[in-house]
Symmetry: C2
Subunit: 413 residues, 2 copies
């Protein structure tokens, strides 16, 4: 049998995606937070589908669902996440997991499939993929808190029936590479009428908290000359970022101030404190460093100018994850076969589990179009023919990579 | 008896202020929100002190405590508010009420004393003085809500035992003028080593809400070129206010952005909405109109520039309240007698009940120093000798005004 002629079953894929959509259905989207009752039910359901597909499934101590193909490696690892953002889309994450399952069913061998827990960060940051890489300690789990209500991760694992289970970590020598499909989440493919995006790299998303300390006072009785207004200091610095960044960034760079807080935040009180969350993203480490340097300059100038104290905290500073050129070639060829001229290489502006897996093995990603570029909202959607097409491209690429000589990746330990 | 030689009893005044401080004591300050149990206990206590002083007290349907002197007018009306901000100072409001009581005890005749309810705005805006002027309707009371927990004003009045009581309104022809003493709340007197401030005018505090509507999106996948970031629009407009206002304001003008909110306010989401509260204050209507004009220009320019929609809502736009020159003269003379060279005329940057009373009769205000300019905080304080001195100056000025020919103020209705 020529693997590269293997045809996926589009109707079966769509039927399963629609069934998965039923766990936590919300309008036309889903509400399936990590470790919630519907999330755990969907993981049990997924494990059952894996078993039917001939894989050996296990839900581990962090909630990862991993279905192992028969026999020894080297194998391809396919996956994404299965929980959703709150009241969000039906395909964000779910699509990549079900592509993995469908490819495993289609090819019949050589594939492991994973649903990584909590990529969406309800309790932490990429808990599942980090755990699989051995980068999530018990202390990290002790410290984990729900982003919205502050409840402990330990309690959620206990309630989900996961406490005490082993956590599966990567088996040395088993994998040739990792492949993840995902909705684009941006509007690039949709706007250009393209069907497939072949991801070249996942941006580094460098995040910062900038705090300003002034003096809180009465907004009527405190003269302008003696004020130390933390809100004024914040506005001045934010304005300087927006003024200077365009000159030093690259074409695809993005930068965002997503949150601003003035303390105490009352109309008639001069703010004594202020805080903003700032992030920028690019695939080029040199560009990231240039933006960081500019930020440090702007903060230092503000600190020197006074009258408020300015403090810069670096929250995350991950390296961009470059996808493997052999996987890019395989995806390009498969895309050209099924969607000639309707594919392109592109970076991923969003974070994905693949950025962690890429630390341990060659990794690649495939995008399908997001209608209108909408994501993290229940109206998120992708045309069904585009879903089926994307999965077929993935199956072809996986078949080609299985037939390719890629030395198994050595993993420490 | 020459009224102008009347000596107040400083020890009695301080003893009463310290007793009042005991209702809701919090650290060295007080926590006595309007209509709370301690607030109502303090009003009963105050009514009893008024009765002892020969006044006829009544706690009316909005919580005002009004003690009427014997006989017909014309009289002087003295007062301030007796509730406190949350966890705030012991003198803010209480000082003026107790000055009124002590002056009534000292002079023995010609004075009514009032404690206006809710100047601090726990349930509304100057409820007591507005009610006294006939400017607070039953519909206003129906609509009143607690600023912190949203509970209805009607329920609070019921719980305080005030429901169904009549509300006292100004008696036509009774009053020559209104006089209110207060702590300065700013640092001007303290910094200059002065003891008495004679208030020339209470600023108009014009307040606005400025809203920005953009498009919420993913902060990684949405290109800068297509973003409609409401937070960027807000920062740009706020920055423009701070850049242009210094050139068009007057020496004592103040302007403040006290609150900023980005929606949804998450680090990785391009804000789709943004909102800021902006206010400015001055005693000169022409300066207020100039600032308002500049604000409208800035908003119109932002709206024209796009890409976000900008909306300006005017929340309040009160006229400044000019104090009566005859009262200023009387206060100047009394201050010069007891604190020669240690007094000055000055505007009030904070709002006070006097700004409402000034609509119905000549009004005046007297400030005593605030240590370090601190107010709306439990560390607020004034040196006790300064308190006693301030009350003596007020007593002298009241005596002089009682002896002055001021035509009673005609009141409509």
């Amino acid at each position: 049998m020529s693997l590269s002629n293997a045809q996926i079953d589009g109707a079966r894929l769509l039927a399963d995606l629609h069934t998965l959509r039923g766990f936590g259905a919300y309008k036309t989207g889903v509400h399936r937070p990590t470790y919630s009752k519907v999330d755990m039910q969907s993981r049990e359901w997924l494990a059952e589908r894996m078993r039917e597909a001939g894989l050996t499934p296990e839900i581990d101590g962090i909630g990862n669902v991993i279905g192992r193909g028969e026999g020894e490696g080297p194998k391809l690892l396919l996956g994404s996440h299965s929980e959703s953002q709150n009241h969000a889309g039906w395909l964000d994450g779910a699509l990549g997991v079900m592509f993995g399952l469908e490819v495993a069913r289609t090819l019949g061998r050589g594939v492991d499939v994973a649903a990584w827990a909590d990529e969406e960060g309800h309790f932490g940051s990429f808990l599942g993929s980090r755990s699989f890489l051995g980068e999530l300690s018990e202390a990290d789990i002790d410290a984990g808190r729900n982003r919205y209500d502050g409840s402990p991760l330990r309690g959620a694992l206990e309630a989900a029936g996961l406490a005490g289970r082993r956590r599966i970590t990567i088996e040395p020598g088993r994998y040739k590479c990792y492949l993840e499909a995902h909705i684009e989440q941006g509007d690039v493919l949709d706007a250009m009428g393209l069907k497939i995006g072949v991801v070249t790299a996942i941006v580094g998303n460098w995040q910062f908290r900038i705090s300003f300390e002034g003096v809180q006072n009465h907004a009527g009785t405190t003269r302008m000359a003696i004020r130390k207004d933390a809100g004024v200091a914040l506005v001045r610095l934010a304005s300087e970022i927006h003024r200077r960044f365009p000159a030093i960034v690259a074409e695809r760079s993005v930068w965002t101030i997503g949150r601003i807080l003035l303390t105490p935040g009352a109309p008639s009180i001069v703010p004594g404190g202020a805080e903003m969350y700032f992030q920028f993203r690019d695939t080029d480490p040199a560009v990231l460093r240039r933006m960081e340097h500019e930020l440090h300059e702007i903060v230092a100038e503000a600190q020197a100018a006074g009258p408020c104290a300015v403090k810069l905290d670096t929250l995350t500073r991950p390296a961009p994850a470059v996808m493997d050129p052999r996987i890019l070639d395989a995806l390009d060829r498969a895309a050209e076969r099924h969607a000639p001229g309707l594919h392109q290489r592109m970076p991923s502006g969003a974070g994905h589990d693949a950025q962690f897996l890429a630390k341990a093995m060659p990794a690649g990603m495939l995008f399908v179009p997001s209608i209108g570029g909408i994501s993290h909202h229940w109206t998120e959607d992708t045309a069904e023919p585009d879903i089926v097409l994307g999965c077929q491209v993935m199956a072809d690429a996986v078949a080609a990579l299985l037939a390719t000589d890629m030395a198994p990746v050595p993993v420490p330990g």
